[in-house]
């Protein structure tokens, strides 16, 4: 049964990808990408990767699509027909694809429990992590503890993205003159519903943040969801109102603080005599130490991701407003 669902979803993905190649309407291309992302999230669920599916749905279908639409609003939605010959790219793709297919021929069969991937490193994560780290969600254990250094790197990547976007688009300064009343003034229904939903979305973000140890979720997803709540607010009520709640300057401080919080846990464990990010040192009882460590670093991730996603949105939205003024 799982295989059939898998196959149907994969076929739909293939159709979507093919459609993207030939469409010239970029708006449709971006929407199809959103669909592509949602479909792959479904495949991830079907392949037991619930955390990944959650993230893909929030990021790929959510944030990425919003950013792409924001870009389209500034750059126009039609792709011009090109005189490019598509021969060379086609050759490159065929060669690469052939190499990959050749590579698949010796791959371990799909889904077999005795594949090498499941034998060498992974068994310890599955069998020992509930005892060593003390969390039922193994993905969180591996993410935050065994491979905590990767996750620190991931947080820094997000932070670098914010540095890049702010450097490129800047944050609008006050003195740049009057901005038109933005937001959706006429949409009373939207305004009421948004007012109703935003607190619930933030509540849900907090649930995802702190429930990540037991179920799918964690700092990253929570940060994205919380940012989405404020994005909704900014869209419906207008940027100036949103700036009044959380200003871009404040976010610029908040994003690095998350990174510092994460690295700070590592430094503290070094001070306590362990290796960098060794949570066992944080408390008398190693399991308790792991708990403290994971909660704090997940919080750091959540803070950084929230601040970065929101400031990236602010940067794009300010650009859109500026171009509206002109």
């Amino acid at each position: 049964m799982a295989e059939i669902i898998d196959l149907v979803l994969l076929a739909m993905l293939a159709l979507t990808a093919l459609r993207v190649i030939f469409l010239k309407d970029l708006f449709a291309v971006v929407m199809l990408f959103g669909i592509y992302s949602f479909l792959s999230a479904l495949i991830f669920v079907n392949l037991d990767a619930v955390d990944v599916a959650f993230t893909e749905a929030a990021v790929g279908a959510g944030i990425s699509t919003v950013l792409m639409l924001g870009t389209l609003a500034l750059t126009g939605r039609k792709e011009k027909p090109s005189k490019h010959s598509s021969f060379l790219p086609l050759v490159v793709v065929f060669v690469t694809g052939a190499a990959l297919i050749y590579g698949t021929l010796d791959m371990p069969p799909f889904g077999h429990p005795d594949n090498p991937v499941h034998e060498h490193v992974a068994p310890r994560y599955i069998e020992e992590s509930p005892k060593e780290v003390g969390l039922p969600n193994m993905v969180t254990s591996v993410l935050a503890s065994y491979r905590g250094f990767d996750t620190l790197g991931e947080t820094v990547v997000v932070f670098s993205a914010a540095v890049g976007v702010i450097a490129l688009l800047g944050v609008r300064r006050k003195e740049e003159g009057e901005t038109p009343e933005s937001g959706l003034k006429e949409h009373h229904v939207l305004r009421v519903v948004a007012k109703l939903l935003i607190p619930l979305v933030i509540l849900f973000a907090l649930y995802v943040q702190f429930h990540g140890d037991f179920g799918p979720g964690g700092g990253f997803q929570a940060g994205v969801i919380a940012a989405a709540a404020f994005i909704l607010y900014a869209l419906v009520y207008g940027l100036p109102h949103s700036f009044a709640v959380i200003g871009p300057r404040f976010l610029q401080i908040l994003a690095p603080i998350g990174v510092l919080l994460y690295a700070g846990v590592g430094l503290f464990s070094m001070y306590k005599g362990g290796q960098f990010l060794d949570y066992n040192m944080l408390a008398e009882d190693p399991i308790a130490g792991q708990h403290y460590g994971i909660i704090i670093i997940e919080l750091g991730v959540g803070i950084t991701v929230f601040a970065v996603m929101l400031s990236i949105f602010y940067a794009f939205a300010s650009q859109a407003e500026r171009s509206n003024v002109q």
């Binding site: 190499a99 990959l100 050749y102 590579g103 698949t104 021929l105 010796d106 791959m107 371990p108 594949n115 090498p116 991937v117 499941h118 034998e119 060498h120 490193v121 992974a122 310890r124 994560y125 503890s145 065994y146 491979r147 905590g148 250094f149 990767d150 620190l152 790197g153 991931e154 820094v156 990547v157 932070f159 670098s160 993205a161 540095v163 890049g164 702010i166 450097a167 490129l168 800047g170 610029q252 401080i253 994003a255 690095p256 603080i257 990174v259 510092l260 690295a263 590592g266 430094l267 070094m270 362990g274 290796q275 960098f276 990010l277 060794d278 949570y279 066992n280 040192m281």
Partner: protein, 501 residues
Amino acid sequence: MVEQHLSVLPILLPLLAAPIAIIIGRSYLSWMVATIASAGAFIFSWQLLLAALSEGVISYAVGGWPPPWGIELRVDAANAFVLLAVSSVSTLVLLYARDSIQKEIDQSQHALFYTAHLLCLAGLSGILLTGDAFNLFVFLEISSLATYTLVSLASDRRCLTAAFRYLVMGTIGATFILIGVGMLYMKTGTLNMLDLAERIHVYDSSRTINTGLAFIMVGVSIKLALFPLHAWLPPAYTHAPSAVTAFLASTATKVAVYVMIRFIFTIFGAEHVFHEMGMDIILMVLAIVAIFKCSYMATVQSNVKTVLAYSSVAQIGYMVLGISLVSVTGLMAGMIHIFNHALMKGALFMAVGAVFYRVGSVDIKAFNGLGRQMPLTMAAFTLAGLSIIGVPLTVGFISKWYLVTAALEQDQWVLAGLVLLGSLLAVVYIGRILEAAYFQKLPDNVDASKIKEVPLLMLIPMWILVLANIYFGIETSITTEAAGSAAEWLFQHTRLPEVAQ
């Protein structure tokens, strides 16, 4: 305390300083933070190199989880040596950047510049020190994202398209590496490099592993701008701010060369890559084509930064040529050239940045008559240029010497001749610029009194690099010892092809 954590500190220092620099937000203060962090990383990497030379291998288990379950930092002579080059150039560039970016980057973006620089340094150090194949990808992306930002900070609009092209190429490269690592993981069930090396032998003839190897090699080749995948490099180096070009040209591609060495020698084993897959021939041909094609391209450009950018691609050719010879001397020549090229290109791009600071252009015509107006800068340019050519008593000569020796060891007379011929092309492209500087007159419409030497803070780092060019060209024992033991170490810990023994 410090000694125990020596391997993680060079990554951690810039990583912690970057958020602090952006919180401070003031140009001067964040410059201070960045310089101190980078200097600290330099000191630690110096100690790390000494420790690695005496102890062999230093393993550090992040999070206290033993490898292969946790992430391991693994330091040996090879990566400590490259790390030293990276952190020293980074510190000098930061000193230089203080004045240099005043003319090229808007005041409000200085803090962002320093933050991005620190992130790039942290990423590069992470790539060098990590012993985990996936962790390498993460740090690769940190440094790449920071690099795209740095390139796009310049005021010329062309930097944007250059940065975009770099972003697309770089991401394709990184994704290829991701595919390759995935295939290795699929067959072996581990991501730790040492563990991979131990387990990969069983699958030598596996199509999956070989495809993985091919994808990693192509991905890394994009990152190190190996001909013909170098198209992103000349525009990016030409249009980035001078301080950024000086930093990137002397570090980013070199780190990618190191990654290639690491994958070939430590993970796959030289025997497999070179003997069974025949990659040495491919690399050698590409390297030679890169040397000649790009040296030629360098001779016909009118923008001096572009000249030097093409020269960089050619110099990368020399490094890859050293690797492709599959001998201790060849690898050593490649490693020495990583270090030496950082010294010479750093100095050259700093000198060009100094010209931009005063003249406001880096077209070859802008160099007319500068020999008299900016004697110190042009003297630095001349000496570093001689080093690129490979004149005796400079580091460039040392690199070429070992490369030719390695070629002659295998009776490759033609190859040795080609290396020397490549130097002739360097004479042409460096000579054109020197000719303009010393034998042309300052254009009449330029006010000679305005073109004078640049501030001391720009001159000092430039001259430190130039003097290093000469110092390490005469006192060769330090670099040859470090590079030699790195190369020997790599060869001892790999499976050798029979031909080289």
